[in-house]
């Protein structure tokens, strides 16, 4: 079982680094959002793999990842709304107040 875990930790490291790379080189806001999400997935994969060390999976780590998922979807939504507001190709609507 341990070898499988090592393999998944390797995948997690690669995902984190791939996301980091995307965040550094990509310019388009959507690509950057996706890159951040990939990095997040990398951390979560590391956490879930660590949770699977014991025969009984670690519920604390699962709960942490669940909390992290909610936070990550919140941040993604905010980033995409900001990105839409900043880079929208359509003409901005005249603000009426």
């Amino acid at each position: 079982m341990t070898d499988t875990l090592l393999f998944y930790l390797l995948v997690a490291s690669f995902l984190w680094a791939a996301g980091l790379h995307g965040l550094i080189v990509a310019r388009h806001v959507l690509r950057r959002v996706i890159a951040v999400n990939i990095m997040t997935a990398g951390v979560f994969l590391a956490l879930v793999t660590l949770a699977a060390r014991a025969p009984e999976p670690d519920p604390v780590l699962h709960a942490l990842v669940l909390t992290g998922l909610v936070i990550s979807v919140s941040a993604t939504a905010l980033a995409l709304h900001l990105g839409t507001a900043a880079f929208s190709t359509e003409k901005p609507e005249p603000t009426t107040r």
Binding site: W16, G19, L20, L23, V29, R32, V36, M39, T40, G42, V43, A46, L47, L50, V60, L61, L64, T67, G68, I71, S74, A75, L78, A79, L82, G83, A85, A86, P92
Partner: protein, 469 residues
């Protein structure tokens, strides 16, 4: 402990109330921060009288529960947060044109309170994320110009969170514990711990805008609405800094502190010089104030680094004094800068020509706050800098650092006096700008408080020396 929790709950519930009924935001937030300040002071008195307190949430045993802990420093920071919030909301309730601000400001206050009280690595992650999202939302309140800086801030902040979270994952994988007080008894200097500390430090440095990871700060802080700039510079960057300090002074294993301290001290010196230089060069008024934040955070890093390298207690006291003095001075400076920007209708530094005649009180506030940033006696900034310099003089080996601090003082004097000399130039004749005297005085208030710190300097330093560990 209950007083501290009251101090946290009041802004939380105020924020929720203001979301339901978004009216009279200003008065509500002023009221809630006053009450929260009172509760925080009560908790400070309580903790000074009866010693450190901790509570395991939910009554679960150690390890399993999240532990909230209250020590004099946390209580002091609680009170400081409520005070800055009160000062800013007093000013902003005269000028605010956006109702969205108040609910977010209350939630920001509650978030910071949660951060000061927490002692759990993952809970800190959640509060840090909350802090970033609130700050980004507040920066974006300024409208079109601020959206790109806000987005950039969000991306860097997310990257930082992921570094921090990966560090937490490694720590959990290595020790199986998230409570930093328990960890402080367990940590050893192996590769995993070193890597985790490195990742967490990098993440917190980005979030705290510590040089060279500060690039998001100047655009975000200068484009935000004035009150938001003040809150961000005075309070928000201190959150990650607080965690960084606790991690390095309490949790880091002995083998790592030496190297970490050296790294932080060198980065601190660079921050002081480079940040000061950028502040001197920029043509925009608020950007100048924002770069000055980058420079001033260098003192905090330097103090932390020296503390780790030489185990000097005085520098830790200096660190907390810097946090307090910089918070108050920067609040005043941003409010005064925003006020003058409003009066003259121009964002550039050159617009301030003759400001000493056309907007005397706001200019005075700016200069007084600047005096504390330079470290002129007898301001709060002077106290902090003196405490930092004193141990440096004793040892010949430390003189280069002392020299760097003195040089940085010159740089900060340069960027403050650049504005002041401009303001004492003769005003161009034109129609007298419309002034709001009350808000100018409100902008001055925090600067007066930071000079007032000198009046209580001796008991303050003695007390901090006793409680800072």
């Amino acid at each position: 402990m209950n007083f501290a929790l009251v101090s946290l709950s009041i802004p939380l519930f105020t924020g929720l109330l203001l979301l339901m009924i978004p009216r009279y935001g200003g008065p509500w937030v002023v009221l809630s921060s006053t009450l929260s300040l009172a509760a925080a002071v009560a908790s400070l008195v309580e903790v000074v009288d009866s010693g450190n307190q901790a509570v395991l949430l939910g009554g679960w045993p150690e390890l399993l529960a999240i532990r909230l802990h209250l020590e004099p420093i946390n209580a002091l920071l609680l009170a400081f947060t409520a005070l800055i919030q009160l000062l800013v909301s007093l000013y902003w309730s005269r000028n605010c044109r956006n109702d969205g601000f108040w609910a977010l400001a209350s939630l920001l206050h509650a978030t910071l309170a949660a951060l000061w009280l927490s002692g759990d690595l993952f809970n800190w992650y959640v509060t840090l994320e909350l802090l970033s999202l609130v700050s980004v939302s507040m920066v974006a309140l300024a409208g079109k110009d601020s959206i790109k800086p806000a987005l950039n801030y969000l991306f860097l902040s997310l990257l930082a969170s992921l570094c921090y979270l990966l560090g937490v994952a490694i720590i959990y994988g290595r020790y199986g514990v998230l409570d930093f007080q328990i960890l402080s008894r367990m940590t050893v200097g192996d590769t995993s711990t070193a890597m985790a500390m490195l990742l967490m430090t990098l993440g917190l440095m980005v979030k705290g805008a510590l040089w060279p990871l500060h690039l998001w700060l100047p655009p975000a802080h200068s484009r935000a609405p004035t009150a938001v700039s003040a809150l961000l510079s005075a309070l928000v960057v201190k959150g990650p800094l607080f965690i960084l300090t606790l991690l390095w002074t309490r949790m880091a294993p002995m083998e790592l502190t030496d190297k970490g301290g050296e790294f932080l001290a060198v980065m601190g010196v660079f921050a002081l010089l480079v940040g000061g230089w950028c502040s001197f060069r920029t043509p925009l008024l608020k950007e100048m104030v924002a770069y000055s934040t980058v420079a001033q955070l260098g003192y905090v890093m330097l103090a932390l680094g020296l503390m780790l390298q030489w185990q000097l207690r005085e520098t830790l006291v200096a660190l907390w004094l810097f946090v307090l003095a910089h918070g108050l001075a920067k609040t005043s400076m941003f409010l005064a800068a925003g006020e003058m920007q409003r009066i003259f209708g121009n964002k550039r530094v050159t617009a301030l020509r003759g400001a000493s005649q056309t907007a005397p009180v706001a200019m005075f506030a700016f200069a007084v706050a600047g005096g504390s940033l330079i470290g002129l006696p007898p301001s709060g900034g002077f106290l902090a800098k003196w405490l930092l310099l004193e141990p440096l003089f004793y040892d010949l080996q430390r003189w280069p650092l002392a020299f760097a601090v003195l040089l940085s003082t010159l740089v900060s004097a340069a960027y403050v006096f650049r504005i002041v000399t401009l303001a004492f130039d003769r005003a161009e004749r034109g129609q007298a700008p419309s002034r709001d005297r009350v808000s100018e005085w409100l902008a001055l208030l925090p600067a007066l408080l930071v000079w007032g710190m000198a009046l209580v300097s001796e008991p303050l330093i003695l007390w901090l020396t006793r409680v800072a560990q």
